[in-house]
């Protein structure tokens, strides 16, 4: 423990975690856990705008996200693993999104669905005052899904990509 240099004072949580790493390494168990996590992603019931309707469509009978263990939409952030940011994040909503993210227990993931959450989408123009231009300005995003709005298939594909990412654990580089 002595060799580890102390983290810089202004480091973010994310940086701290990468630097320190887990205290106990249980590789086999960790892998097993990741397999389990990837197959039971519980999204937060949380719609921001247009994309939320496609998110609902993805959860309904035609596309049925339940086939991947992700159909259990949790109304409370404290029971959710994955935050699907579906829609434009307005500046008024930004702090709320951040608060919700902080309320989610770790390990947690975020999917940015639709152009607006990637970098402002159609609502981005010089002088825009109302929106946050990209969800990753507030919270770390794992998977991006472009489209306006993306089809439910795209959301499911994004979810599958997130599963791959989780299953790969730390060895996965993007």
């Amino acid at each position: 423990m002595k060799e580890t240099p102390p983290p810089p004072a202004n480091a973010t949580t994310e940086e701290l975690l990468t630097q320190l790493g887990p205290l106990v390494h249980l590789d086999v168990l960790e892998n097993l856990l990741n397999q389990a996590r990837a197959r039971s992603l519980w999204p937060l019931t949380f719609g921001l705008a247009c994309c939320a309707i496609e998110m609902m469509a993805a959860g309904a009978s035609r596309f049925d996200m339940d086939r991947f263990g992700s159909g259990v939409f949790r109304p409370s952030a404290r029971q959710a693993d994955v935050m699907i940011l579906a829609g434009t994040i307005s500046r008024k909503m930004g702090p709320v999104v951040k608060a919700l993210w902080d309320q989610m227990p770790s390990p947690k993931w975020a999917i940015a669905m639709g152009g607006c959450t990637i970098d402002g989408g159609p609502f981005k123009y010089p002088g825009q005052y109302a929106i946050v231009e990209g969800a990753d300005k507030i919270i770390p995003v794992d998977v991006y899904i472009p489209g306006c709005p993306p089809r439910p298939e795209a959301l499911i594909n994004g979810l599958l990509m997130l599963e791959q990412k989780i299953k790969a654990g730390k060895k996965f580089h993007v």
Binding site: S90, R91, K92, G94, P126, G127, Q128, Y129, A130
Partner: protein
């Protein structure tokens, strides 16, 4: 018909009200009026008593041409449309009497006009921002908003 003529008579009783002749069908209105701001409450009362609702309220930034803001009220009745657009010209920075006591919907409409264009309404019970983020200090729909800073931002790193 008597209702409409009653309304016309009541409107004619308001000294500062000027009615435009025969509005164009494209304007979507049956009557276009301009009124001094002191009489807008009176006009609102006339429309309310005639059974009209406040359909729309917004403001226009006309500071470039007339150094004034226009507050536009639109009254309509249920049934066959009889839409009246009433315009109040306010010198920039001055307040307009609120209609919030007469129409419930005016409460939010006025808050929105205040938020977006900075028009103040006298006698409004709770004139605070409604749409923009907390702590905002700008009125986005003003014509001089977002022009210069945007250009600067573009140059800096857009």
């Amino acid at each position: 018909m008597s209702e409409a003529s009653g309304l016309a008579a009541a409107l004619a009783g308001i000294a500062s009200l000027k009615t435009a002749e025969a509005p164009d069908a494209k304007s979507g209105c049956q009557g276009l009026h301009t009124v001094g701001r002191e009489a807008i409450v009176e006009v609102g009362r006339v429309f309310r008593e005639a059974g009209y609702m406040l359909e729309m309220l917004t403001a226009l930034d006309m500071r470039a041409a007339e150094q004034a803001m226009h507050v536009v009220y639109q009254f309509n009745r249920f049934g066959a449309p009889d839409r009246h657009r009433v315009r109040v010209v306010v010198p920039a920075g001055e307040a307009v009497p609120s209609l919030a006591d007469l129409f419930g919907s005016a409460n939010w409409y006025e808050r929105e006009a205040f938020d977006m264009l900075g028009v103040r309404f006298d006698g409004h019970p709770y004139l605070v921002r409604i749409l923009t983020e907390e702590g905002a200090d700008y009125h986005p729909l003003l014509k001089d908003f977002g022009v210069a800073p945007a250009a600067a931002e573009e140059a800096a790193g857009g």
